[in-house]
């Protein structure tokens, strides 16, 4: 399992990436993350992040009635969110290159 401190910085970007492919709701996002090997991340962790993304106008949410009663809050990427995602990809690439070259190529 990835330590939460390490996850903190990238989780937001990962969520943006997940909802950029398709409109998703909280539980789906949690399942997607698990599918990609992030381990079990509960909705209680994701929801505050989504609130922040929504507050910063990076995602747009709509309530859609599910088949069996409760309403689901679906999130999709806004224009600003698309730019943010591009930025995240660039930043992450830079960081992962730096970390990789430090711990694998250098000195071994």
């Amino acid at each position: 399992m990835i330590p939460s401190q390490m996850l903190k910085g990238v989780l937001e970007g990962c969520i943006l990436s997940i909802i950029s492919k398709k409109e998703r709701y909280g539980y789906e996002i949690s399942q997607e993350l698990e599918k990609y090997g992030f381990g079990h991340i509960v909705e209680g962790t994701i929801y505050p992040l989504l609130l922040r993304l929504e507050k910063n106008d990076l995602v747009i949410s709509t309530y859609i009635q599910s088949d069996f009663g409760p309403k689901r809050k679906y999130y999709s990427l806004s224009e600003k969110g698309k730019i943010e995602l591009k930025l995240f990809k660039l930043n992450y690439e830079e960081m992962s290159n730096a970390v990789n070259s430090l711990i694998y190529k250098d000195g071994e």
Binding site: Y27, V42, E43, T45, Y47, P48, L51, G69, P70
Partner: protein, 213 residues
């Protein structure tokens, strides 16, 4: 309370009635915790709405609250960083607005009973109120104490002293020149009606703004 909040609250009650004991207890604890931290009413209900829907769906799928939310304290604390809160100043204003209403209503009672000469229920007999030095001093002390206790201003002592200086000067002048040393002497006379109207308008204005927070 405005319409949007009332509507949300109604929907939340509806969903909550469908939740099992554990989930509704969680929701209650969350509401209490957020309310305690002075989250704005609308945001509190909105979060409540999202979470109760999430919990309801999880309940149908047979997942329990801990599996969905994780650690309740941690969840609430992260949530608190993301939702807007009422400012301290606003909360004191709110408290003051209720005091204003109480004063206005009691003055109203005194005014009307005097106006219509309803002797048997008229206790105060004050259409024109004689504002005595003692009254102003007591009023100042109460207001001053409220503010000092609640740290409304950065330097409450200063506020208290500055506001009191003219009063003391006036009092001393009276004492020396008019030779009327008396705690009960009358500073000025005011008609109560404009006072009542102003207080009620102030309260109404505050309520109007408060509904939009």
């Amino acid at each position: 309370m405005n319409k949007k909040v009332r509507e949300l609250r109604k929907q939340n009650r509806e969903i909550k009635s469908k939740l099992n004991n554990e989930n509704s207890l969680f929701l209650e604890m969350m509401s209490l915790y957020l309310n305690d931290k002075k989250v704005t009413r609308y945001d509190l209900e909105k979060v409540n709405y999202d979470i109760s829907n999430t919990l309801y769906e999880a309940q149908i799928e047979g997942r329990d609250c801990k599996e969905v939310i994780g650690d309740y304290r941690l969840f609430c604390d992260t949530l608190l960083k993301e939702v807007p809160k009422l400012s301290k100043r606003w909360l004191y204003l709110k408290r003051l607005s209720w005091i204003t209403l109480c004063i206005a209503l009691s003055l109203c009672y005194a005014y009307l009973t005097t106006f219509f000469n309803l002797g048997f229920i008229n206790v105060l007999n004050v259409r024109v109120y004689h504002v005595s030095f003692l009254f102003v001093l007591l009023f100042q002390l109460i207001i001053g104490a409220l503010f000092i206790r609640k740290h409304l201003f950065n330097k409450p002592e200063l506020y208290f002293i500055v506001l009191n200086i003219p009063l003391w000067l006036y009092f001393l002048l009276h004492w020396f020149y008019l030779d009327s040393y008396n705690w009960q002497f009358i500073l000025f006379e005011i008609d109560l009606l404009p006072f009542i109207v102003i207080e009620l308008i102030l309260f109404g204005m505050f309520k109007y703004v408060d509904d939009r927070v």
